[in-house]
Amino acid sequence: MKSTFRELRESCNFLLPLIIFILVFIILPVLGTVVTSMFQDVTFLEREFLFLENYRRIFSDPAFGQSFRFTFLFVAVSVPLEICLGLMFALLLNEQLPFRGALRAFVLIPWAIPAAISGRIWELIYNYHYGLANFLFVKLGISAEPINWLGSGLGAFFSLVVSDVWKTSPFVAIILLAGLQAIPRELYEQGQVDGANLLQRFYRITLPLLKPVLVVALLFRTIDALRIFDLIYVLTHGGPGGATNSLSLYAYRYYLGGDFGYGSAVSTILFIVAFSLSVLYVKLSRFSSVVK
């Protein structure tokens, strides 16, 4: 009895640093943001309790509506593309390829470098006058004239989607690859004996067995894409005319302008959306077996 008590105290000591760090630098800031969102908190102005006034302002602001729509559209377009491309990469990497090690490393590279740096590379690629995208499009005859990638709403949207898909499909591929490797080879051999062709084996064996991992990757990417910031900050600055102003960037703009109350309220809304999704994620990922 006494020894279990000692062990309990000891495990608390082992956990304490982790708990303190997470409480002070994550939970406290998030709670602080929620509290601030109910105040007028503007540089050089008196702090004043407003309750939900900031939220009322947000929902009557057309710029918020635009930002909200952009963010969800961005998620809705880029995440499915990332999953498809990631699945394709994972299927390839799961084969007995001659240069499998090198290919795996190549796929990891876009994921491993800072988004801010890849954002700058893509900014040059999309350059109207001498960027690679227009060079290829005109050379290959896809477009007669150079395209103003970052200068039009639609162009900026798809430029961001392509850059984000490039950056994050590798992550999806690695997660799905782990799922693929867990599928027993005998199932495929059995399928072949039963006369199922390549496509049938994919639909009947691979997809159903990969489904749990696919769901995890989908939710993970959705939550991550919702909070997109760095790529947009570098590539379009939210422009043109606020067409690509993600919710994170929208909130950041208000912080930058000194309006912490309003910025916090926007952040709180984003937090609530992301948190609800992560609760779903946690419920879906059957992980308790690791802990036991």
Binding site: E7, L8, E10, S11, F14, P17, L18, I22, V24, I26, L28, P29, V30, T33, M88, L92, E95, L97, G101, L103, A105, L108, I109, A112, P114, A116, I117, S118, R120, I121, L124, I125, N127, H129, Y130, L132, F135, I175, L177, A178, L198, V213, V216, A217, L226, F229, Y233, L247, S248, Y252, F260, S267, A274, F275, Y281, V282, S285, F287, S289, V290
Partner: protein, 275 residues
Amino acid sequence: MTERKTRIVLILLGSIFMATFCLTPFAYMFITSFSESSDFLSSQDFHFSLDNYRSVLTVRSLHFLDYLRNSLIVSGISAFLCVLIAGLAAYAITRLALPGKVFIMFFVLAVSMFPQVSMVGYLFKFMAGIGWTDTYRSLIFPYIAWILPLSLWILVSYFAQIPRDLDKAALIDGATHLQILRKIILPIALPGFLSCFLLAFIFAFNEFIFALVLTTTHHARTIPVGIALFQGLHGETPWGNIMAAATITTIPVVILTVIFQRHIIQGLTRGAVKS
């Protein structure tokens, strides 16, 4: 045999597409960094030059080397402390009697998905309040907290695989838990610690929004923010310089990724989907 052929053709085409898709932007970055002018595609006029590297490495007002040093220090310290703290916690979770283990893992997983923008405004005021703005500390502390969930998940999955007979025997011999962690778990789970350190380092190195808000000058600003805000001496966008800086920054990351790809992949998959 036609199915076999289709399969080979598909795999071949797919692999070529995959490699081209992933590597083209890097090749473009690399070539531009060695070009005298960055409009070589439209002018059809490529001249090899090292000027971009020379100016990035020698013009002090660009602060490239400051940013790089800041990034290496901040990411190195954050990753190291993160592995240490997560190692202790993972030991408690896998080895000690503790109610609510499942809750802690749930909680930490949910925390890792919080949007950073919902912390950064408060953190900015907090850091300004205690006078830490624009210091390494102002980044290291939030980074550790932010990367701990992932590190904990990776290490727990490694620790859980180590048979308990070893530490039970050591306990009977009178070893403390800290000794068991250091002498038994650490050597066996070394690959796990390595994956964890590498991933923590990459996450800290790539972090953007905290660094953007919590630092103001070259004293603490990290390389992603430095490159994002890179301005020429005369206000134009110095593409050549940016690409040279990007190349110097990414080449070590790329080499690390190639060497340790197995460890990184293992860490990622354990952190994200372990069941």
